[in-house]
Amino acid sequence: MSTATDLNRPAAPPAFQEINSSRRFKNRLATILVGLTFVLALAPLVWLLITVIAKGFQYVLNADWWQKSLAGLTSRQFGGGVYHAIIGTLLQGLICAVIAVPIAILVAVYLVEYGKQSRLAKAVTFTVDILSGVPSIVAALFIYALCITTLGMPRSAFAVSLALVLLMIPVVVRTTEELLKIVPDELREAAYALGVPKWKTIVKIVIPTAMSGIITGISLAIARVMGETAPVLVLVGYTTFINYDPFGGSMASLPLLMTSERLTTNEVGEARVWGAAVTLILIITVFNLLGSLISRLTSLKTK
């Protein structure tokens, strides 16, 4: 009955069928569209960076730019620099970090080590989420309502730092929390087994283990708050003079300088605005790089 051809023939027609053309077309279309969206996202980034560099890079090459302020220069005179604004930006960012970082780390420690699933921990997590969505202008208004109207403080760089604290805390809490969670439990248990108190375990074992990541997170957060404009607009006045005192008087910062000089509609104003933009981007880049550098240097040696 069975011939050789019968034996070679598959029992059933092959299960694999060519993908029909409409499915293939849809697949290809989707791939192209998805790839295009990525290009679409990079276009503004590249365009923006090229614009800023083309318009402002020539001004920051001058040594005066980094060492002098704009004091005594009219809006028609070229020259001077943005030293006063750089100082302001760094000072406000650092004061903010000094206040925000300890609070944020303690909150993260609470969430990971103490709170667990308690009701307070849930409330804190929710609040941190909400806080990270609070617009910077609202944070600025709050500090205005609290410090300036209610407590009668003058407008000052310190008030700006306080508003920035509100914006920085959620960022640092998030990163720190994630990092503390991945510290292996064995480390904690080993410490407890040696009779080390819990707080010392956290301070000496858990946090140092996560430290390099935390530092990266902090420097990213500083970089972020230094670019914030709304708080400086509301909470401190602009000046072309150098001011080192965060508690008194007007203090420039790069965003504030840009919003103020923007109103100078001539070449001088343009030079100052775009030069400051390049400077701000450079400082933010430095902080980002610094973060990853420090984290590389301080990361625990693994053998």
Binding site: I19, K26, N27, A30, L33, V34, G35, T37, F38, A41, L42, L45, W47, L48, V52, I103, L106, V107, Y110, Y114, L120, V124, T127, I130, L131, G133, V134, P135, S136, I137, V138, L141, F142, A145, T149, T150, I169, R188, Y192, L194, V196, P197, K198, W199, I202, R224, M226, G227, T229, A230, L233, V234, P255, M258, T259, W274, A277, L280, I281, I284
Partner: protein, 357 residues
């Protein structure tokens, strides 16, 4: 007693629950071997948990910080409200439904937030409509399509968009993008002007200080935010589902459509809501791009105007009279409530999904 103390010593608070739980004191008589401290003949005591002063102080510090953060949100609402009430009481216009803003205390306050609110929501929703499909595409590209080795650097590039300060977006939008968009907006206005959305607005199209420009810049700022969260969620699609779809002969797109998208939908929507919250509160970019106007908002993309945030920032340097400032603080309170609701909603979408943890 001192004996049982030394035994209990390693039982620091964190460990007391699990490791020492085996030495349950109630069953001590039946199981003398497993409870060494019971061998002295005295009934076994539960291992003493020793709390050192350092522990107490440290815990109090962390709890205090947690409470501080919770209190902070409440304080923001309370302080804004307290400062806004006197001005609201003096207000001669309807605050929520009035469309004109006069916060000059000379001659009486008459401020209504409706127009600002409309511009805020309108521009943010416009931005979201542009940003949502694009970031969905980027997130899919980074998680499903890009070569594994390039996915990380590509993702880093998208994240860079988030690192650019908003003031620089504003400058770029106002001085570079706006003129470049002029032909597009003119074309839309001339050919589709019968649709209210593209009707001639209060802003000059050639200069481009329109909601159209502001919305596009906002959309660019939203891309990294929406992408980052969607990417995380898409990455967690169970591999079994993906492989199952592949085994059934699905094409790449069909895999995405039948496994990745249904799994990640809630996360994607939540991410978009978070982006919306961000757009609603964006201040300086909008302030630089939009032209101020005294005429009412006409629901056209080519209108100028002010969002709540940009209105506050525009007036910020002249906050000297507390009653005038109070009017702006009232507007800020509206913005705070709005972003609070949007953010809480975004979180609640994700909170129901345990598989995203």
């Amino acid at each position: 007693m001192s004996d049982s103390d030394t035994v209990g010593r390693p039982g620091a608070p964190g460990l007391a629950r699990g490791a020492r739980g085996g030495a349950a004191p109630d069953t001590a008589p039946e199981a003398p071997i497993s409870t060494p401290q019971g061998s002295g003949g005295t009934p076994a005591q539960p291992p003493k948990v020793i709390t050192r002063p350092g522990d107490k102080i440290f815990k109090a510090l962390t709890v205090g910080s947690g409470v501080f953060v919770v209190a902070m949100i409440a304080l923001i609402g309370v302080f804004l409200l307290i400062q806004a009430i006197p001005s609201l009481a003096d207000n001669q216009a309807n605050f929520l439904f009035g469309r004109d803003w006069d916060a000059d205390p000379e001659g009486g306050l008459a401020f209504g937030v409706l127009d600002l609110l409309l511009v805020t929501v309108f521009s943010s929703v416009f931005a979201l409509i542009i940003a949502m499909p694009v970031s969905l595409g980027i997130a899919l590209f980074l998680t499903q399509y890009a070569p594994r080795r390039l996915a990380r650097p590509f993702a880093y590039l998208v994240d860079l968009l988030a690192a650019v300060p908003s003031i620089i977006y504003g400058l770029w939008g106002a001085y570079v993008l706006a003129p470049a968009l002029a032909p597009v907006s003119t074309w839309l206005n001339e050919n589709l002007g019968f649709i209210p959305l593209f009707a001639t607005g209060t802003s000059n199209l050639a200069i481009g200080q329109t909601i159209f420009t502001a919305g596009i810049v906002l959309a660019v700022m939203l891309l990294p935010i929406i992408t980052a969260i969607s990417r995380e969620v898409f990455d967690r699609t169970p591999p079994m589902q993906v492989e199952g779809a592949l085994a059934l002969g699905a094409t790449k797109w069909e895999v995405v459509r039948t496994t990745v998208l249904p799994f990640g939908r809630a996360g994607y929507i939540s991410a978009s809501m978070l982006g919306l919250g961000r757009a609603l509160g964006e201040t300086i970019a909008v302030l630089i791009i939009l032209s101020s106007t005294t005429s009412h908002f006409g629901f056209s993309l080519f209108d100028g105007g002010d969002t709540i945030a940009s209105k506050i920032a525009r007036a910020a340097q002249e906050f000297n009279d507390p009653r005038g400032a109070g009017a702006y603080i009232a507007a800020g309170l509206v913005l705070f409530v709005l972003t609070f609701v949007v953010n809480a909603f975004a979180r609640s979408i994700i909170a129901g999904h345990k598989e995203y943890e």
